[in-house]
Every structure is written in C-alpha cells, then in structure tokens.
C-alpha cells in the first residue's frame, strides 16, 4: 500500500518545497520523540509488571484497583508524583540538587539512539556504536554521585559513595565481556553485530560466549543498582540512599532513569548475545514458507527484552541483598578473571579457526 495516497497532495508539495536540512531535522526529531515516548511508556508498564511479578512470586495479587486488572496503576502513580511538592533541603546545593536527576536520565535515554529496533530502523547508525553505549552507560554515575553529595545528608552521601565504587568496579567486567562480543562479530556497529549472528539460535553468541553473557548480565544488574546489588539504596541500612531527600517530580525522574536503564540493559543483552531482532527459527522449514515466526522483526526483540526484564524481577524476588565487601569481591576477583580467561580462550579459538567466527 502506498502511504502517499493517504496524504493530501498540498501537504506533500509543501513538504517537497522545504530545504533538505529542514526535512532531515523534522524526520530525525520525529524519530527521537517516537522512541523516547515509547521508552517512557514501557517504563510505566514495567513498574506495573514488576509489582505483578513480585506479587505473584510472594503469593499476593499485586496492584488490581485502578483500571482493568490494575493497568491504570502506573498512571495513577505518575499523577500522584507530579502533584507532590518538590522539597529542597535548606543546606543543600540547589543547582546540583536539581541537575542530578537529569544527569542520570539523559544518558539512559540517549543510548537508545544507536539501538537497532528492526532490520532498517536505527536513529543513528554510527560505526562505533558499541563504544558509544559503553561511554554513555559510564556517564550515568554522575547523577547518583551528585545527588548524594548535593543533598548534604550523611545517608545520601554514603549511598552515593557505595554506588560510585560499585559502578566503577562492574564497568570493567562489562567492558571486558563486550570485548569478547567484539572479537566474535568483528564490528563495533550494533547492526553488524546482529547481522553476524544470523541463522537461528545456534549461531547466537550466547552459545560460544556463555560465561561472558552471564558476566555481562549480572554486571548489568549491578550497574542499574537493582536488587541484590541495591546497596546504594539499602533501605534497611541507609533509608533510601542517594535519593533520600528527593520528592515529587525529582524523585520520579530518578525512578524513570532506573527503569529506563533496566530496559536498556535488557535490550543490549538481547542484541549482543541473542541477536536482537533476528528470529531464533531462521531456516526451520517445518514452520512453513514465509511464516511470521521465521521472519526477523521487532516482535523478536520485544520478546527478548521482556524476558530479560522478567529475569531482573525474578532475581529481585529471589536473592537477599549482597553485603558490600562481597559485591566488591564478586566484581574484582571473580568477574574480571573470568572475562580475561574467556577472552584468552576465544583468542586461541579464533587463531585455530574453531567456532562460528570466520575472521
């Protein structure tokens, strides 16, 4: 179907009269807005999903009052947070206190620019996409650090210190795990990384790189400060950690950033290790010719993202919180050696020409 039929000709004529850079500006802005709004809506329903999942795991029902089956709950929460007062502590550093939530939200949303959502759609198809992802995820720590310091409270400061040390530690393991992906795919471009895993789930990097997949995902949980690595919040020890004095919209922005990061880590894990939008049944003839299940599409990326988001909540409902020295031990003394050893193994495999990669 030609979409031009639906638009009156006067609009298309006006559109063609616009200079090229203005056309590009309009198209790119629309794409950015579409992706951002979708991410924010997903965040809203992720909070609902989390409460439902944890509810059922603990033998409760979870939210079921607002709307059908409680589906209106996230919007009720948002409205509640929006009409609350933003309290700024009197001895705090005003500017940094207000900027801090934004600094944690911006990297979480900006990383979506390089994520390929389907076989043709990515906002910025840059060559060094993987490096861009690493760089922006490491910038997110500023929000937490500044929030903890600007609040001028001991609890918040302790939370920020814990969080910074934890993120710096796990970032190294995360980077090393991605070096393995880089060696296997031979490209820094996320689209090319997915393309090099095409051909059904036996070709996915989760098979040869399983240890790196585990390290990456667990480091991802630690980077987003989720349970069992949520010592930056640590309700039982330091009240709520870095956001103890935040209320209303400022708190909502922190909340949004945390869940946007969860969805981001889920998307990145599915792209690096589960071939993103590729179908797991590529080349399965008994599903029928031209079957929907065999086609690569956004559907598969969404399924994989949902699965990893579920794993996040599953882990949260299952494990008790780590003690801080054990978090450090896991990051530095277990994950980094595991990744270094596996990179060496992979190097030998590439050299002996064993395995799926053909460099």
């Amino acid at each position: 179907m030609n979409i031009n039929v639906l638009i009156p000709s006067i609009v298309t004529n006006q559109w063609n009269l616009l200079p090229l850079y203005l056309q590009n500006l309009v198209i790119i802005t629309t794409q950015i807005l579409a992706v951002t709004i979708c991410v924010i809506l997903t965040v809203a329903f992720t909070t609902y999903f989390e409460r439902k999942v944890i509810g059922y795991m603990q033998g409760r029902i979870g939210p079921n009052r607002v709307g059908i089956k409680g589906l209106g709950q996230p919007f009720a929460d948002v409205i509640k947070l929006l009409i609350k007062e933003v309290v700024i502590p009197s001895r705090s550093n005003r500017y940094l206190f207000i900027i801090a939530p934004l600094l944690s939200l911006i990297p979480a949303l900006a990383t979506w620019a390089v994520i390929p959502l389907t076989d043709g759609f990515v906002i910025a198809d840059i060559n060094a996409g993987l490096l861009y992802v690493l760089a922006l995820t490491s910038v997110g720590v500023y929000g937490v650090l500044l929030a903890g310091w600007a609040t001028n409270s001991k609890y918040a400061f302790l939370g920020a210190m814990r969080c910074a040390a934890q993120i710096v530690a796990y970032e190294i393991a995360m980077g090393f795990a991605l070096v393995g992906v880089l060696m296997a795919s031979g490209s820094l471009n996320l689209g090319d990384i997915i393309a090099s895993q095409s051909g059904g789930f036996s070709q996915w990097f989760i098979v040869p790189l399983f240890p790196l997949f585990m390290v990456y995902f667990i480091s991802g949980v630690a980077e987003t400060n989720r349970a069992p690595f949520d010592v930056a919040e640590g309700e039982s020890e330091i009240v709520a950690g870095f956001h103890v004095e935040y209320s209303g919209v400022a708190f909502a922005v922190f909340f949004l950033a945390e869940y946007a990061n969860i969805i981001l880590i889920a998307a990145l894990t599915s792209i690096f290790f589960l071939a993103g939008w590729s179908s797991p049944f590529e080349g399965w003839s008994f599903l029928g010719e031209g079957s929907f299940l065999r086609e690569p599409s956004f559907f598969w990326l969404a399924v994989k993202i949902c699965f990893f988001i579920f794993v996040f909540f599953w882990i949260r409902a299952t494990f008790p919180r780590y003690r801080y020295d054990q978090i450090m031990r896991l990051g530095w003394k277990i994950f980094i050696p595991v990744t270094i050893v596996w990179i060496a193994v992979e190097g030998v495999m590439v050299w002996m020409k064993v395995g799926p990669w053909s460099i």
Partner: protein, 197 residues
C-alpha cells in the same frame, strides 16, 4: 558554513567551561565544569569525523577519571577561603606555564601547516571510518608498542587486585568457599535420647 557555526558555538562553550573550572569557588562545581569541557572537546572531535577519539575521550576521562576525581574531592572537606588565598601566590607561575604552552602550540600549528592557512577540517573520503583507520595503523605499524602498552596495563590491573588478596596472620576474615561447602554432617550430631517422663 553550518559546520563553522557549530565549531565556533562548541568552541565558545568549551572556553566558557574551561574558565568555569578556574573561577568557580566550589571544587565540585569546578569538576563538573571540567566534565562539560571534556564533552565539548569530544564534540569538536566528532566534527572532525574522529568519532573513535571522541567516544574514547568521554569513556576514559568522563566515565572513569573524573568519577574518581569527584570521589576524592567529595571526601575531602576543603576549606574554600583558605584555598583561595593561594591564587595570587601561584598566579605568576601559572601565567608562565600558560604562555609557554601557547608559544609551543603556535609553533606546532605553523610547523604542521607549512605556512599556509587551513580552511576548516581536512576532507575525509567517502565511507571513511575513523575506528578502522586507527585500527589499521595500530595493529600493523605500531603493533609492538601497542601490545607492550596493553600488557603493562593488564599487569597493573592484575597486580592491583593481587595486592588485596594478601593474607595477614591473625586477621579474622570469612572464607566464602569454605562456608558454602559446609556439610551439616560435619557440624551437627544427631543424638537419640529417651524422652524424660
């Protein structure tokens, strides 16, 4: 034209951020200005199509080095009035160093451009990938220097982690693998007893 506007806009922001580093009274503000300055210079590199260098600048300096800086500065309780007293004392030394660097930069630019004035950035060929170009040079011409540097860095990481693994006598620390491997049979004795009436 459009590139020139962007270049001057971001250069202006870079200079403003750099001045902010020097003149802000609060050390944490100064560090945030420095972070902003790094971001602006990364953008300038992006304009020159050196995307690898730009992203590495953000990754290494903003993502790691400045976080540690911020970490240390927040821990120190710096007396701001006292720190400002040193400004007039150190100003001459700072000015001399700045003048030296300006002279050096001018020399380098004149030497590199061979007298002719360059207009904008060098034009890159179609499908130019900065990352690939760097990799092609690093892994062929400079492969030994590159590999030796990376081995030294890896050694530094391993050495730093090993330092934390020392065992001091008399230190009470838990052995986690021992704890996990505990068997109830080794610790508990189940005794049959007659019930006391």
């Amino acid at each position: 034209m459009f590139q020139a506007i962007l270049f001057y806009a971001f250069s202006g922001l870079l200079l403003a951020a750099a001045l902010g580093v020097i003149f802000s009274r609060n050390p944490v503000h100064a560090i945030m200005f420095l972070v902003a300055a790094f971001f602006q210079s990364a953008v300038l590199w992006l304009l020159a199509e050196a995307e690898f260098l730009a992203i590495i600048l953000v990754l290494v300096y903003v993502g790691a080095v400045m976080v540690l800086f911020l970490f240390v500065v927040m821990m120190l309780d710096i007396n701001i009035e006292e720190a400002r007293g040193g400004l007039s004392k150190y100003a001459p030394l700072g000015l001399i160093i700045a003048a030296l660097m300006i002279v050096e930069l001018i020399q380098v630019i004149r030497f590199r451009s061979d007298g002719e004035v360059l207009q904008g950035f060098a034009v890159t060929p179609e499908n130019y990938s900065n990352t690939e170009a760097l990799g092609a040079v690093l892994y062929t011409e400079h492969v030994y220097a590159f590999e030796i540097a990376s081995v030294i860095l890896l050694l530094a990481i391993v050495a730093a982690i090993t330092l934390t693994m020392r065992k001091r006598p008399g230190l009470k620390a838990q052995n986690i693998s021992e704890q996990v491997a505990v068997d109830p049979k080794d610790r508990m004795r189940i005794i049959k007893m007659k019930s006391e009436s």
